[in-house]
């Protein structure tokens, strides 16, 4: 990955490019029809917790997808599967799914530490695989899975770093890369929620399995389980991976015997010199989740599924197009909306600051990319094994820095394969 290069020349080129496009336009914003000569792809979901259910409800709306089987080891989840997708077969043994030649695609939404074995078995069974992020809970597991995916080039392996497929993010990405921010100085991201992260069941044996996120042996903590997608966007827009991380973790809100911190801070140090702070907490929902990048000419904030606003410094050069752009007030600041299809929406008399009714969710676009790959691929998806390995290795390092309250240099070998 190259660093974010900002010069006067490419800044102006970027501005011209955006102006010519009439603000940004997402290339991929409309649904594409599924090729008429293609059968629907029989899919199976392994793991029917909240994320498995989100995958199921999304697949129901993606052209080309047919959810044929659902696998979970916990009966209440299979009961929900029966209600949600009555036409899908239900299994407690994932081998039954892998042995079924009719199933072409397997979507893995189990606890993180179970991803590696399931995904490798699925690849070995010849299935195309969508694996939720993080793709593993250790660097060794992530490398093993990445190696298996790399060595199966005729099969699809897509990681659930969904913003990579999101046209909203892709369009805002252009603003960042155009240099409109000036010289990047620092970044900050947050993920805030008021919840205990605990799960429960009348079955005592099940409680430990359900609470894998609170098990320090296997959990990547808040930084890995909640911030990874946002960190992945940072790596993408900054165009570089961190070389070191310093972390802090505390138990502030839920002193219920847990060891996994409920409040964390991680400072990522990038080779360009830029530092980015991620903080996450289960104590407060204030302002939920966003990432903000501070530069000498402007500050850009990403939030709400890829929406973004730019806050210009008074001495920043005029970009031209921003004269026509929509502005929103944020307390005492005025943000210029950076929205895919903004001009188009304005022409349709729709408020670009509202949700665009023509836009799908990031998960939908990720599923669409996965299904399109069945029809037109296989080709490396935007979130392929390499992006998955990078993000996972860095999340492992960040979680280690947090739990040990220390500074860790990130060895590029952690996200490289032999």
């Amino acid at each position: 990955m190259g660093g974010l290069k900002v010069s006067r020349r490419n800044f102006l080129m970027g501005g011209a490019m955006i102006s010519g496009a009439g603000l940004v336009r997402a290339a991929n914003i409309k649904q594409r029809p599924w090729p008429g000569n293609r059968d629907d792809v029989n899919c199976a979901i392994i793991g029917y917790g909240p994320q498995g259910r989100a995958l199921a409800s999304t697949l129901a709306r993606v052209p080309g997808a047919r959810l044929a089987a659902i696998c979970d080891t916990y009966d209440p989840m299979l009961l929900r599967a029966r209600r949600d997708v009555p036409e899908a077969s239900r299994h407690t043994d994932y081998r039954e799914v892998l042995d079924n030649p009719e199933i072409k695609a397997v979507l893995i939404a189990t606890p993180t530490h179970l991803h590696k074995d399931l995904a490798i078995d699925a690849l070995e069974a010849g299935k195309n695989v969508y694996c939720e992020a993080p793709m593993a809970s250790s660097i060794e597991d992530a490398q093993a899975l990445a190696r298996a995916a790399r060595d199966a080039p005729n099969q699809i392996f897509q990681v659930g770093q969904i913003y990579r497929s999101n046209p909203q993010h892709r369009s805002v990405f252009q603003f960042m890369r155009s240099g409109a921010i000036g010289k990047p100085a620092m970044g900050r991201g947050q993920w805030h929620s008021k919840e205990s992260w605990r799960r429960t069941s009348p079955n005592a044996d099940r409680i430990r399995a359900l609470n894998w996120r609170l098990d320090p042996e296997v959990s990547l903590g808040l930084i890995g389980e909640s911030c990874l997608l946002q960190m992945d966007v940072a790596f993408w827009v900054l165009g570089e991976l961190p070389s070191a991380v310093h972390g802090f973790g505390q138990i502030m809100a839920w002193p219920d015997g847990r060891e996994v911190p409920d409040t964390v801070q991680a400072v990522l140090q990038f080779p360009s010199g830029l530092h980015m702070l991620f903080d996450a907490t289960l104590a407060s929902s204030f302002d939920e989740a966003y990432e903000v990048y501070f530069g000498t000419d402007s500050t850009i904030i990403f939030r709400d599924r890829g929406k973004a606003w730019m806050f210009k410094e008074v001495d920043a050069p005029m970009l031209g197009w921003e004269v026509y752009a929509r502005r929103d007030r944020f307390y005492k600041e005025t943000g210029i909306a950076l929205l895919a299809n903004a001009t188009q929406l304005d022409a349709q008399n729709q408020d670009p600051t509202e949700d665009d009714p023509n836009v799908e969710t990031p998960l939908w676009y990720a599923m669409q990319e996965f299904m399109d790959n069945h029809a037109f691929g296989p080709y490396p998806p935007a979130a392929d094994w390499a992006r998955g390995l990078e993000a996972t290795a860095i999340a492992v390092a960040a979680n280690r820095a947090i739990t040990q309250r220390t500074h860790i240099n990130i060895d590029p070998a952690w996200y490289s394969l032999d």
Partner: protein, 310 residues
């Protein structure tokens, strides 16, 4: 016995959950899962969120059959059954009528005959085609919309209480805006059930009745608070979908039933129906308790079954 209270802002109201049990950590975990489900349902059922399944139906179903999730399809089938059971008094396609009467984000205006007829032409569950084979929804005409607001809270409470039970919760009360309630078991040392007051339409600070809920749901619909005057007559913000006119009859309808979804639909329906029809509709339901109150010159005339007024 320990108690845990949780709350959630969703569906334009505040949901509150009170649970009793021996392990507060487990109670909270169960409650969080239940409230997460309500938040998820809001995203699925919202009339206003353009990403919701309901918005997608409203946008596309006049052009082509829209495939929907099994859970929403089942809810739409329930909504249709509720329409039939209430003889058309409950109807999720009432949106165009509500808008033409100015009841959406406004206090109300008297529509012209032309406007009213246009709205009536795109109102009615008979214009919504539900096809089980492909699990699709299709509208017979452009302009039709569905709005699950009248049963969304009840449905969310029904789903959430099911999850609470699956998590082992044996004593809980969940309400949405105090008008839709789901009860699990009984509170400690109150074996007769959770006490719930039904406010008096003349003086909401007083209770017209108090009922006890035990593994039962409850819903109350009322016309007070939202009304407008036209030529000296006061009209409430409740429309009879069959006539297209605001209701001038019941001031209050309350229903206790095993299903929170049905409670919501029946209380809305009973508010609209005349006393005799309301009784005949209620009589067709199993294990239902209900109360209706009609304004009279000298007070409120109550009709009820299984609920005693104070």
């Amino acid at each position: 016995m320990r108690s845990v209270r949780l709350a959630l802002q969703a569906m334009a109201t505040r949901f509150e959950l009170l649970m009793y049990g021996s392990d507060p950590v487990a109670l909270r975990a169960a409650g969080e899962e239940a409230l997460r489900e309500i938040a998820l349902l809001e995203k699925q059922l919202s009339f206003y969120d353009p990403y919701s399944e309901v918005s997608r139906i409203n946008r596309d179903a006049a052009d082509r059959p829209v495939r929907v999730s099994a859970r929403l399809f089942s809810l739409l089938q329930t909504a249709r059954a509720c329409t039939e059971s209430t003889k058309g008094a409950f109807d999720i396609t009432i949106g165009p009528l509500m808008r033409c009467w100015g009841f959406v984000r406004s206090t109300g205006t008297w529509p012209s005959d032309q406007t009213l007829n246009a709205a009536r032409a795109v109102t009615g569950m008979s214009l919504v085609r539900l096809r089980g084979a492909g699990r699709t929804v299709e509208f017979a005409r452009p302009g039709l919309t569905i709005d699950l607001g009248a049963i969304g809270k009840g449905f969310a409470i029904e789903e959430a209480t099911m999850l609470l039970r699956q998590c082992g919760v044996a004593s809980a009360l969940l309400h949405g805006g105090t008008s839709s309630i789901g009860a699990i078991g009984t509170p400690p040392e109150e074996p007769e059930g959770w006490p719930v007051g039904i406010a008096d339409p003349r003086d909401p600070s007083r209770n017209a009745a108090t009922i006890r809920l035990r593994d039962e749901a409850f819903s109350v619909s009322a016309t007070w608070g939202k009304a407008f005057r036209h030529k000296g007559t006061q009209f409430g913000h409740v429309i009879d979908p069959r006539s297209g006119q605001p209701v001038r009859g019941a001031a209050l309808a309350a229903v206790a039933h095993s299903s929170a979804t049905w409670c919501d639909a029946l209380s809305t329906g009973l508010l609209i129906l005349d006393p005799n029809t309301a009784r005949s509709v209620s009589d067709t339901q199993d294990r239902v308790r209900w109360l209706t109150g009609y304004r009279k010159a000298d007070g409120i005339a109550y009709h009820s079954q299984g609920i005693d007024t104070n």
